[in-house]
């Protein structure tokens, strides 16, 4: 930088200069556009009054509750989405507290709630649409108006839509909690490519739920506060877990008030482990082995609830007993390291607590090559002891937007998007333009599919042929393969729109995503919608600034751990800052620009009116209607019966009209909207011995599908080798490729989430990054001693390409090498090194980068102005200087290392869920 720039006062102006400049400007004031805005109704009395108040309240509390207004909304800090109350004062949200009306959180909140204030008022938040003026990724931009942005993005979309290939519009989102609003846009457009990050998150654990119970019910809803025994396999509700905040106080209540016991199987000591009565370190990927062993014990000890199994499991107990007989506690001990005697003891304790007992699984057990089948084994434990849907057990309570009572939840008001609703996109059937454009090898794969999948095939991005279970139940997609597939030519792109999406930083092998986004031949146009300047948005052509969760509307519904369904509303507490806009406004204006019928689905001026219509049936339940609903933020019929044993609830008589019963299976079916659907099953009434129609489970058999033929069907469709265990109809145990022959120095690299962060999205939330801003490699002290390591040593981590039926699984190669510092921690498994994958950002502003800007230090005051300024400010630091953990402040700096580039893309066979925890690596000390 030019040093002359810093000679600030070398050419000081005098009074004559000021008069000269002021005079010149005054003369030209009406013609040159340099005029000051004028204020109407300027009143000295009014200003004096307000200014006096301003000055007098400078030292008052941060929130003046006599003036602040409380407005309820729904938190967006993580996936829990708690009901909260924001205190708004002087047009700003000053504090957020829990909403006691939320039956899930019961008024509790966590640090991430306060992150909403951090990101809304982040001084480096992106507040204007910008367009790149240099090469993509070069970082050169200019601000543009919304009119220009809408015109350019709209023109691109319009051209794409009118080309006859609407599927070339790719909508790729990170966290979308609009409850279908974005789908309204993509459906209206006609593209099936509304791609999510489900595979990154939870698909491996959702599939066992959907296979067993017919749907995932927004995950299972354990009746924690009434339970007596919790078997935890790799779940961490005390820190980071879907529903964690709703579970943690209930778990503690159960432990303290009911004497409940929690046993955790984990690879590292978590907060949940610390709240457990017993903790066992397990080898990654061995949870299923423990589950099968426990199942054997429960069967051998005669602790099976045979009545429940016989009534609701879809295979005889003898068959499963024979299938799992070799997977004993001793076998599990060899794989997991957990002593057989403890496995046996705990299995017996668990079964004896039935039905007041429950399993809890999560990514720790599921995000492995064998995780889907392993979790099926763990799911079986609940069925064996008969705790499903019972008090204190593993319950299934739907929390999605309600549209009827087909899962036994009759009587809830319908909550549904306003009409008209756009039609769904058309499948890629032979003869359609989209199908004919597919590469020949993909067409061949599609031709091998089961006909039912051929009918709902929408191309390789939305419905990848090799991963049918990623989209059999609903569209979970395989997000980590989107960019590789685009690069391989499996799909063509005209417009790529990312929405609150961070794959360029946070996905496995994120460098692949960046390479593809930088290639304008592969991705001709990228528009990003986000609240700030992320690594992903930095690779866009246009960035549209979105309103934050404190500035916009969203519907809300999730499963309630109190087991009585409820709904809530996210509503704006303040207007969007700067020129940021609500997504509903962005899409409305784009739809109108694109036209061609799209606009009819976005026929609203006021966004609130749209949601008022959406919730009209809920408002009708409340005296005071919509306004009262907004005032409370939550609606629930607290007198409603809890969602226990939904499967035993009768099918209402009116639904039975025109239904038929299969004489063999007793399944009740009915044609609804032209499709034959199951609505219940005839079962023997315990009291009368008569056959009666009950709901059962929303599976094809209306029973719990311990045996599920969808797995071998999917294996055949995807072309898996004959006998591959991933395609077994029964829950099955097998090894992770490469784990059976680990060398002495091979380690398993696993990741975890910090309790105050939400993946990679929260590093710019100053409130949270002040608390946690590092991600060292945690390692067991014994292992460290063997390697000659101590806390603070820098190591090089070399990650190998995973083997097996996965991305590039046949190639022997290193995925990447990264440096980090180690930290010794008792309780980590001896074979494991683990780190939090959030951290090491290079965008998102100064807080995320944990750096100080080159703000010049305050000098000794040189003149009256500088002296006065120093006296008045009382400050010596700018915002970035408040980043006290930056290196030049003597802190750890961005001690958080970006490690996602070296984590392999590793989708599970058939399901596509990312196997985050199967990374074989070597550690080498470098300093």
């Amino acid at each position: 930088m030019n040093q002359n720039n810093n000679k600030q006062n070398e050419s000081k102006l005098n009074r004559r200069d000021f008069l000269k400049l002021g005079g010149a400007l005054t003369i030209g004031i009406t013609t040159v556009g340099l005029a000051a805005p004028l204020f109407k109704q300027l009143s000295g009395e009014q200003i004096q009054l307000d200014l006096d108040e301003f000055i007098s309240t400078r030292k008052k509390d941060f929130v003046d509750y006599t003036r602040a207004k409380a407005i309820p909304t729904i938190c967006f800090g993580c996936t829990n989405h708690c009901g909260v109350i924001g205190w708004v004062q002087d047009g700003k949200v000053r504090r957020i507290e829990g909403n006691p009306l939320d039956p899930n959180s019961e008024g509790n909140t966590c640090s991430k709630t306060h992150g909403m204030i951090s990101y809304t008022y982040y001084p480096e938040r992106l507040l204007y649409p910008i367009k790149r003026v240099g090469k993509r990724g070069e970082g050169k931009w200019r601000r543009i108006s919304w009119q220009e942005a809408t015109q350019e993005v709209g023109d691109r979309l319009k051209t794409c839509r009118e080309s006859g290939h609407p599927e070339r519009f790719i909508f790729h989102y990170g966290r979308d909690k609009t409850k279908g609003f974005t789908k309204r846009f993509t459906n209206a457009f006609g593209t099936p490519n509304r791609l999510n990050r489900r595979a990154i998150c939870s698909s491996n654990r959702r599939v066992p739920l959907m296979s067993f119970y017919g749907r995932d019910f927004e995950w299972e809803t354990q009746d924690m506060e009434n339970t007596k025994y919790i078997l935890n396999f790799g779940a961490n509700p005390m820190e980071a877990y879907q529903g964690g905040l709703f579970m943690m106080h209930r778990i503690q209540k159960a432990r303290v008030d009911n004497g409940a016991k929690m046993v955790s199987f984990e690879v590292r000591p978590t907060a949940t482990v610390n709240c457990s009565e017993e903790y066992f370190k397990v080898m990654p990927g061995s949870d299923g082995a423990i589950g099968f062993a426990m199942a054997n014990v429960i069967i051998d000890e005669g602790l099976v609830d045979e009545a429940f199994w016989k009534r609701w499991a879809n295979i005889p107990l003898a068959e499963i007993k024979e299938h799992i007989k070799d997977w004993t506690p001793e076998h599990a001990e060899k794989l997991s390291g957990v002593p057989a005697k403890d496995i046996t003891r705990i299995a017996i304790e668990f079964a004896k607590a039935a039905p007041h007992c429950t399993t809890m699984t999560a990514r720790g057990s599921a995000k492995h090559y064998n995780g889907t089948q392993g979790d099926r084994g763990l799911r079986m434990l609940d069925v064996l002891v008969g705790n499903v849907g019972r008090e204190g057990g593993l319950c299934l309570s739907s929390g999605r937007m309600w549209g009827g009572g087909k899962y036994g939840q009759e009587g809830l008001p319908s909550v549904s998007q306003p009409k008209p609703k756009p039609p769904k996109p058309k499948a890629f059937l032979p003869g359609t333009a989209a199908y004919e454009e597919l590469p020949a090898d993909i067409k061949e794969k599609v031709s091998r599919m089961d006909p039912k999948w051929q009918k709902k095939y929408f191309g390789e991005l939305a419905t990848p042929a090799e991963y049918p279970l990623a989209w059999h139940w609903y569209g979970m997609k395989v997000g980590q393969l989107v960019q590789p597939y685009i690069r391989e030519g499996r799909a063509k792109v005209d417009v790529y729109m990312s929405f609150a999406y961070g794959a360029a930083y946070g996905y496995p092998e994120a460098k692949v995503c960046r390479e593809v986004l930088l290639d304008e031949k592969l991705v001709p146009f990228h528009v990003a919608i986000d609240i700030d300047y992320s690594e992903h948005a930095a690779l866009a052509d246009i960035i549209l600034p979105e309103a934050t969760s404190l500035e916009r509307w969203d519907p809300h519904s999730t499963n309630n751990y109190g087991l009585i369904p409820y709904t809530g509303i996210r509503q704006p507490l303040v207007k969007p800052l700067g020129e940021a806009r609500e997504l509903q406004v962005i899409f409305r204006d784009l739809a109108r620009h694109i036209g061609g019928g799209m606009e009819q689905y976005f026929d609203y001026e006021n966004v609130e009116d749209f949601y008022k219509e959406w919730y009209k049936n809920v408002s009708a339940q409340i005296p005071g209607g919509w306004e009262e609903f907004k005032r409370r933020g939550i609606w629930q019929d607290a007198n409603r019966e809890k969602d226990y044993e939904l499967y035993e609830r009768p099918v209402p008589d009116n639904e039975l009209v025109d239904s038929t019963v299969d004489p063999e299976t007793k399944v009740i079916t009915k044609v609804i909207k032209g499709k034959k659907r199951t609505i219940g099953i005839m079962m023997t009434d315990a009291a009368t011995g008569e056959m009666k129609p009950v709901r059962g489970f929303p599976t094809p058999s209306r029973k719990i599908q311990v045996h599920d033929p969808i797995f071998p069907l999917a294996a055949k469709s995807a072309g898996l080798p004959e006998g591959d265990p991933n395609g077994n109809a029964l829950p099955t145990l097998f090894s992770i490729p490469g784990f059976d022959d680990l060398k002495e120095d091979d380690m398993i690299l696993t990741t975890f989430k910090w309790n105050v962060h939400t993946q990679g999205r929260s590093s710019q939330w100053k409130f949270n990054s002040e608390i946690v801003h590092t991600n060292q490699l945690f390692i067991n002290p014994k292992t460290a001693a063997r390697m000659g390591l101590k806390t603070g040593d820098e190591v090089e981590v070399t990650v190998q390409r995973p083997k097996g039926l996965t991305y590039r699984g046949s190639i022997d190669e290193v995925v990447g090498v990264v440096k980090n510092k180690v930290r010794l921690l008792n309780g980590v498994h001896e074979r494991v090194v683990c780190f939090a994958h959030a951290g090491g950002h290079w965008e998102h502003g100064a807080v995320a980068r944990a750096e100080n800007k080159e703000s010049l230090p305050i000098k000794e005051p040189q003149n009256a102005l500088e002296k006065s300024a120093l006296e008045k400010s009382g400050l010596e630091k700018d915002f970035s200087n408040e980043i006290w953990w930056s290196k030049d402040q003597g802190g750890t700096g961005n001690g958080a290392t970006a490690m996602n580039d070296v984590l392999p893309i590793n989708p599970s066979p058939l399901v596509g869920g990312q196997n985050w925890f199967d990374n074989i690596c070597q550690i080498r000390k470098i300093s």
Partner: protein, 198 residues
């Protein structure tokens, strides 16, 4: 501080308006042509050598205007390491910013004449430097002496606590003569507020 005449307030109002315009958004052709005016550009030259030549010799065609807009974006909008925020909340502590919000409420409470300014002005954050400078300018345009005096108080509350550090960063972050001169002009006029005519 010396007593100012109404005429002086008027001149200062015009200068604050000029600075407000420069910092509030990218400059358009009309504004740039106005800055080419001899009396104005000569003052800029006094503050930053080369700025007059930059203003007057540049053909302000679409490419040049876009380049200037890109400079503005890089300096003031993107959260890049070499950029800097135009918002007071970047430079003040959260508590100071919260107090500042009350001032912002006053600004919001005043009915801006949208016929004079860009429509997007009303959507800018209230702690934006351009908004604050415009506000001071408007107060100084009043004929009411009591209101004029408020301008000085507002400068002390909303600008002085952070503007020096802002300016230091600006002067070390750009080579653009226009923004260098503007930063120096901002310091000069604030200095003039403090000491009056020496």
């Amino acid at each position: 501080m010396m007593t100012m005449s109404t005429e002086t307030y008027s001149q200062k109002a015009a200068i604050y308006a000029l600075l407000g315009r420069i910092f509030i958004s990218e400059l358009d052709r009309q504004s740039l042509e106005a800055l080419q005016e001899q009396q104005i550009s000569s003052i800029f030259e006094k503050l930053q050598s080369g700025s007059q030549k930059y203003l007057q010799d540049t053909r302000w065609d679409n490419d040049q205007i876009e380049q200037l807009a890109s400079d503005y974006c890089h300096l003031f909008i993107l959260p890049k390491k070499s950029g800097m925020s135009l918002r007071a909340s970047h430079w003040m502590t959260s508590e100071e910013s919260a107090n500042l919000a009350q001032l912002e409420t006053i600004i919001r409470g005043l009915d801006l004449d949208s016929s004079v300014i860009d429509a997007s002005f009303s959507k800018l954050p209230e702690d934006h430097l351009g908004v604050l400078l415009y506000f001071v300018s408007s107060v100084y345009q009043s004929d009411d002496k009591e209101i004029q005096k408020l301008g000085t108080s507002l400068i002390q509350l909303s600008l002085l606590p952070w503007i020096l550090r802002f300016n230091d960063k600006l002067l070390s972050s750009t080579t653009n003569p226009l923004y260098l001169a503007s930063g120096k002009l901002l310091l000069e006029v604030l200095d003039f507020e403090e000491v009056g005519e020496e």
